[in-house]
Symmetry: C2
Subunit: 519 residues, 2 copies
């Protein structure tokens, strides 16, 4: 039989080569990470793939009982929901109230303590998968084509390895980019790549570069020494075929990347839909002044009465109408221009032509929606990646940043007025929005493309750098340095010895001759 | 007036936002670089752009008098075509015949001598642009939106800077990636990124890493010391908005890149068209055995009688029919299965289902056509990047490499039989072909997208890494290292001094007390 092959056939294949009926396994995750994963899964289901999501019994955010187009696979966790909720509250309290009154070392130690508890919980969930014969048998029989995971919940790499299937990560970032650097092998020179969570930008003066360097070093020492055997976990993580990174150059500072790192920031963003009638009426009543959207995210349900009054009195002083997402009691100082809502259609409001500003805690999902729609921001960061996110937005000239603990009504009011009246904020927001949209592929299409690529080609080995096979001293050429240095020193040594030998011979002979003559 | 803006509008803008009527200025280039530039320009003209190409009077390959859809702008060069042709002959003779009999240092010195002559010629052409008031006036009045250039011909960066317009490079590579690394700031750890032309792959043992390290170092020392003031030229090159790199991971080894480096290898490839009748008849006469395509490129017009006979006798021994592109006299030993052609439709033949193997000198354009169509290769490299290209193909398991000077008929015959009969070569060729085609965008579409992006956005500043603003010692954190080392040494010094002071105090007092007691 003749092997017939031509480019035309290949091209047609590529165009029509949707992988229908791919079998996608999804690792459990939590909070905004799950919100970010869902649009990708919806799109995969749209494309005819079967999506199976692992859900631990103690999940706070994943609800396997709600009607869904995904197939949920329940994993028994050794933890209870109550324990998880208590830990979450403890973490929030530390982040919002305690952290600020702590010294740096004390804060770091407490953070690491919480981090260790979190890791223990994560391993509790992982046991529910790998130590359960029933679950592992189901997974092996499931004939999955790819495992999709956010590495914030560890263990997916182990299961992908056991099942022998490609692994695609969806990652926001890890602390100081540790896992991207050590396991993913992405280069990150501390001189112009600010460590994630370092609160630095890519424009650093000498002292900031010193701080960035130390920040990287501390994280690396902690991870490489403190977590038992990170090497084997890192090796498994390094086998990930594709890293979908949930930022882009509209949000992040440009930096070196690798061929298997795909930047898909704003993967959940979508055009605005019409508003519910009552909200649209309130928005329209704002006239030319327009509206301000105010939310502190889903974790913060209410704040102290004092703070509430301060915020409300500031909002009362601006000419815009304000939609405030808040589930606490209405503050006494609430102005007639401000309306409190239990829930708001945030994306649809951000895409509304009357929207002038977005007051946000700085969660990455909300920020990306503001970038998508080109809305300037006032940021009041609380915890986790929120300060990090808002520092990026401030550096790009689209946000003013405030501190909730030391905030005054005047500062708050002035900040909102600034981002609305100083035209540069809107211009910069529009520029970021243009960068976000002016791409060959939407983030969602790009993410789906590379997941399907991994299914079609059983991974993406051709994108994997050889750096994975090198030790750290080989990677940095330290062995080569050492060899060349030794070689040069040896040559210099032999040269000096030879010279001194010759000199001694000559001088010795001279001296001898002289003494001969004297004799 | 209300500033109305919504995501829907933005999305629609993006989809329909073709830049019609962009005004593209194209820098002159030569040989295969011009062949590679043309498809991009054709596509730009298709998209409604006006394309103006600068052509020096002493160009060997660009023909401004042939009918074309581009507007040609003639540049008077101080050189004559005869001088250029003589130099080209000299260079070819050195590369194919002299080089092999030279010692490494002699070869390097001769190469650098030729390189300097080439640079002198290039600067002669450049004078025809920047020192001609007439040309510069025309360019300034031309209102160009972007300058597109292959940096193999220097000076485009200067003219883009004078005109104040964005610069897009189309680059194959520069020696040891010097300009990409120094001017483009792309990271290239010598431990796993083989220097271009080093004849290494990404899998290097210790000695190869030593060699790669030295290879980079020698180039860097040469460029940084030998070419006068490279800094200012490099600074201008560093302003390039986009670097279109004419490789991809089907050809190159995966390596770190930057957000403004776009890999568009195979930009000139296209599906096969039907063959002329006489050629199709000859191809069909091959039956199940199929055909072999043999060409040594456009530079080599004929070879010695001896070599010709050796090659022909080898070809006569294989069961395939052979199409040999050759303009010399037919060798005596020519077999009945071999037909000599003055010209062959190479791409259409490579895409023909009867094609079994491609015998090539290893020019990058031919290799990419073979990758595109999935054809195994036998490589006989001559000069320039040809050995480099074929080493890549050999490493990826799709080619056998031979040396023309030491070639025997048996080796040649065996090599062709190997790539045809050992199935792994065809499988690997098909795998590379699949990698080439299975991309979100074709190389041509990607190239055009980023040129149009630069036109739409007056460059691509958001993709530019901050590394451009750092000195080399800042980039590598050497100042931070030095500071931290000094700090640590100072602390250690003070600590030792303090300890020794305390010890002396204590011991001193003890001694005193003892002597007191004695007294």
């Amino acid at each position: 039989m003749e092997l017939r092959f031509s480019a035309c056939v290949l091209l047609v294949l590529c165009v029509t080569w949707g992988v229908n009926g791919g079998n996608v396994l999804v690792w459990y995750t939590e909070g905004s990470h799950w919100i970010n994963m869902k649009p990708l899964l919806e799109k995969l289901v749209d494309g005819g793939h079967r999506v199976t999501v692992l859900v631990p019994s103690a999940s706070l955010f994943m609800n396997s009982s709600e009607p869904s187009r995904f197939h949920y696979e329940r994993v028994e966790s050794s933890l209870s929901i109550e324990v998880m909720e208590k830990f979450m509250e403890e973490f929030l309290h530390f982040s919002i109230y305690e952290m600020e009154h702590m010294g740096y070392v004390q804060m770091y130690l407490r953070f690491m303590e919480l981090f260790r508890i979190n890791l223990k919980f994560a391993l509790g969930n992982l046991d529910g998968v790998v130590k359960s014969e029933e679950v592992m048998m189901k997974l092996k029989r499931g004939n999955f084509d790819v495992l999709l995971a956010d590495p914030i919940m560890p263990g997916s790499e182990l299961v992908a390895d056991i099942l022998g299937i490609p692994l695609v990560y969806s990652v926001r970032f890890t602390m100081a980019h540790h896992f991207e650097r050590y396991c993913g092998q992405v280069p990150a020179p501390p001189s112009f790549v600010p460590g994630a969570m370092s609160k630095l930008t890519d424009r650093m003066d000498f002292w900031e570069r010193v701080w960035n360097f130390i920040f990287y070093a501390v994280q690396d020492v902690y991870f490489l020494s403190g977590t038992g055997k990170p090497t084997s976990a890192c090796e498994l993580m390094g086998k990930a075929d594709i890293w979908l990174i949930r930022t882009y150059w509209d949000f992040d500072f440009p930096r070196p990347l690798l061929p298997n790192f795909k930047y898909v920031g704003g993967i959940h963003c979508k055009p605005a839909k019409p508003l519910p009638k009552d909200i649209e009426e309130f928005v329209q009543s704002s006239g030319d002044a327009g509206i301000v959207i105010f939310t502190l995210g889903s974790f913060i349900r209410n704040i102290t009465t004092e703070k509430g009054n301060m915020i409300a009195s500031a909002l009362a002083q601006i000419p815009q109408k304000v939609l405030w997402k808040y589930s606490g009691q209405a503050p006494e100082t609430l102005g007639p221009n401000t309306k409190i809502f239990n829930w708001i259609p945030q994306n649809d409001l951000l895409g509304h032509p009357k929207t002038r500003a977005f007051v946000t805690h700085g969660g990455s999902n909300g920020i990306y929606e503001a970038i998508y729609h080109g809305v300037p921001m006032v940021g009041i960061p609380m915890f986790a990646d929120q300060p990090h996110n808002l520092i990026h937005m401030k550096a790009k000239g689209v946000a003013v940043m405030l501190n909730l603990n030391s905030l005054t009504a005047e500062d708050f009011r002035d900040a909102i007025n600034t981002v609305i009246n100083d035209k540069s904020y809107k211009e910069n927001a529009m520029r970021l929005s243009s960068i976000h949209h002016d791409k060959p592929l939407s983030p969602l299409d790009e993410g789906v493309f590379w997941i399907e690529f991994a299914i079609r080609n059983n991974g993406a080995k051709h994108l994997r750098v050889q750096a994975h096979e090198l030790t750290w001293y080989q990677y940095h050429c330290l062995d080569v340095f050492a060899f060349l240095l030794a070689l040069i020193l040896t040559i210099v040594f032999i040269f000096i010895k030879a010279c001194s030998f010759c000199l001694r011979k000559c001088c010795g002979r001279k001296t001898k001759t002289k003494s001969d003559k004297k004799q």
